[in-house]
Symmetry: C2
Subunit: 195 residues, 2 copies
């Protein structure tokens, strides 16, 4: 049990993620992936059998995080603006961590329908957590009480949109960067939702 096998596998998986996120699944050849990983096409097939299984393994191994709920059940302080900031920082952190996989799952939905669902678990969980948080804040009289789920959804969509917009890093809006956007959007939502 030396780690050679695992190291080799990981190098292939990382090369696959890099190249497929850059050029698309059908835009990359198995040979290209293997040589990028410093290995042979033969080795690639010995490890993963098929090209599709390579991509599936990449999702299996390199996507973490079902830990959203716990994450900030502990960190919230029932102060709207501060909590919104915590929450959306966590969101961007998680999305950015699996940035390339998100890109792939967006583009290759046809190939991997089940993985799109899996990637979608995070946002779904976040929406639940955020909705519950809004409900409780409302009960405590610290937030307006109309439509908490839709408010949470709007907040998430704003940050989802900004994330997607930033994904290709094509600097679509040259005068706007992520961090000021986070701060200002949190302020805006805090103002909108404070009684």
């Amino acid at each position: 049990m030396d780690g050679r096998k695992q190291v080799t596998g990981d190098r292939l998986l990382l090369a696959a993620i890099d190249l497929i996120s850059a050029k698309g699944y059908n835009g990359v050849t198995t040979e290209e992936i293997a040589t990028t990983a410093g290995l042979t096409e033969k080795t690639l097939f010995r490890h993963f059998g098929t090209k599709l299984n390579l991509l599936e393994s990449a999702f299996e191994r390199f996507h973490y995080a079902e830990e959203m709920k716990i994450l900030f059940k502990e960190k919230l302080e029932w102060e709207l603006e501060a909590d919104l900031l915590t929450i959306c920082r966590a969101y961007h952190e998680i999305m950015n961590r699996d940035r390339k996989l998100v890109l792939i799952s967006l583009r290759e939905q046809v190939l991997l329908p089940e993985f799109k669902k899996r990637m979608h678990q995070h946002p779904l969980q976040l929406l639940d957590v955020l909705t519950n948080y809004f409900v409780e804040m409302g009960e405590r009289g610290r937030m307006i009480r109309a439509n908490p789920r839709m408010h949470a959804f709007t907040f998430m969509m704003a940050h989802f949109g900004a994330f997607i917009n930033d994904l290709d890093s094509g600097r679509n809006y040259p005068d706007i960067t992520l961090e000021p956007f986070i701060l200002e959007s949190v302020k805006l939502f805090a103002r909108a939702l404070t009684p």
Copy 2:
């Protein structure tokens, strides 16, 4: 000058848009496109020469709209909530009109970098229009005056996110539909930005 040639070309372009948006550029063959259009592969190549040129022609012919600025210089009534509603309805209308092309330009950025830029003109224009509108509303004392561009950007990102989320129509958030979201988000922003 009978219209046969143009009709044939259009059928090929529409079939190409349908199939490429569904399966990706490399996931569709020229033969598939031709037969879907009820024509022959040979005819496809007689019209467009290459597969890539077919896709490029699809963008040339089927993407309209540089008319954003004029569109609602006329329709605005300097009533924040009503105007936000007008604006974001226009946004969704435009994005939905070229829905499939948006999808393609998101996915095939590598193949068509210049088309991504072109599709991006709409949002950019909208951001400008919206920013100017916010500035003037501020001067009229009908809106808070801090950071109009970032506020406009946040509003757009919320709707961009919702649009993207809706693009694959996979019903990602089963209890949320577009129209209620539009109404509630407009309310929310109006509340946040009213002095």
